[in-house]
Symmetry: C2
Subunit: 199 residues, 2 copies
């Protein structure tokens, strides 16, 4: 990395942390510049606009998500073990200060069309597709039965995570993550149980 | 209702609609006063503070939710039919312009302690308790098996709704609501299927 790339990356790492707490729109160029000991114009030079900074922050969030959640899970055996690792890591990801960046940003950018929203839709679709792919592999490995719908499984898993996140962070329900885990176990048991029934 | 109460109610109805789209914090006293043809101080007199207005808007949202979702469902027979009606009405509620008030406000007030957040936590807990209660009735009516955990069922149903809302509004997935309905059917089938197995 050149010095310029390093600075850009350092700005993004801090901007991502801040955005997880204050939201993407809540990012202040002034505050970010102050924290990075840069002038506002110096910071701006790395991105060109507030909007471009927001897009870059969404992409940074994706990069960290891939690194923290997906890469370790991909080291696990294909099929059910990998799917479980994806779910576990994902729950951990949501326990950061400020919670899950993606959940917060979804509500924030929902009614704000434009490049930051588009980047976030891409990131979330990639993640849902990754869950569906891991489910498809669990089918092809014989862990799940043949008629499990991977997209439906991914949808239901995503819903559980959203429920766990809301119950944990917003309602401060102490059993929230246990409930999410039990629900995930039930989902897996259903995908499996029928496998042993039909095979 | 006195004239003052009528005006207050009219302000709240409009404030609720606006807040569903722009968020609770996004409510502008100025804009609201203009729309209601009141002076800012005249509007303020009804609430006393922006914070008190926000609390009143959360309570208005709850009132409308009870009226649109809960009251019609309570007319259905106890047990599974009532639970289904709650779920159907809830999906419809999320289809309003701006989506579900409660989902948006949850993300918005998550990290903002204070009376508006407390009011929202109360409203959502009431709703989750209502779902658990309807599930408990489905057990006592013999529609669901005895060992179904009503709180777990309510948690999972809540997660499905959150998933349906995100996939529909944010990802603009055309099958989102069908996926939520299928998942709810699967949840009911599991609660029931085992009933027919154990009884």
């Amino acid at each position: 990395m050149t010095k310029g790339e390093e600075t850009r990356q350092a700005i993004l790492a801090r901007a991502f942390e801040l955005a997880t707490v204050v939201g993407v729109s809540g990012l202040s160029i002034g505050r970010l510049a102050e924290e990075m000991k840069l002038s506002k114009s110096g910071l701006f030079a790395h991105f060109g606009s507030k909007e471009a900074l927001e897009v870059a922050v969404v992409e940074e969030a994706s990069r960290q998500f891939v690194q923290d959640v997906m890469v370790p899970a991909l080291r696990k055996p294909r099929g059910e073990p990998r799917l479980r690792a994806l779910f576990d890591r994902w729950l951990q990801w949501g326990q950061r200060p400020g919670g899950c960046f993606f959940v917060g940003a979804t509500a924030e950018l929902d009614d704000r069309p434009g490049p930051p929203r588009d980047a976030l839709v891409r990131a979330i679709k990639d993640w849902v597709d990754e869950l569906a792919k891991a489910t498809r592999i669990a089918v092809s490995e014989g862990h799940f039965r043949d008629d499990v719908d991977p997209d439906q499984f991914a949808f239901e898993t995503y819903g559980l995570m959203l429920g766990g996140h809301t119950f944990s962070r917003f309602l401060r329900e102490p059993k929230a993550l246990d409930r999410a885990r039990s629900a995930f176990e039930a989902l897996i048991a259903t995908a499996r149980a029928s496998a042993s029934r039909t095979k």
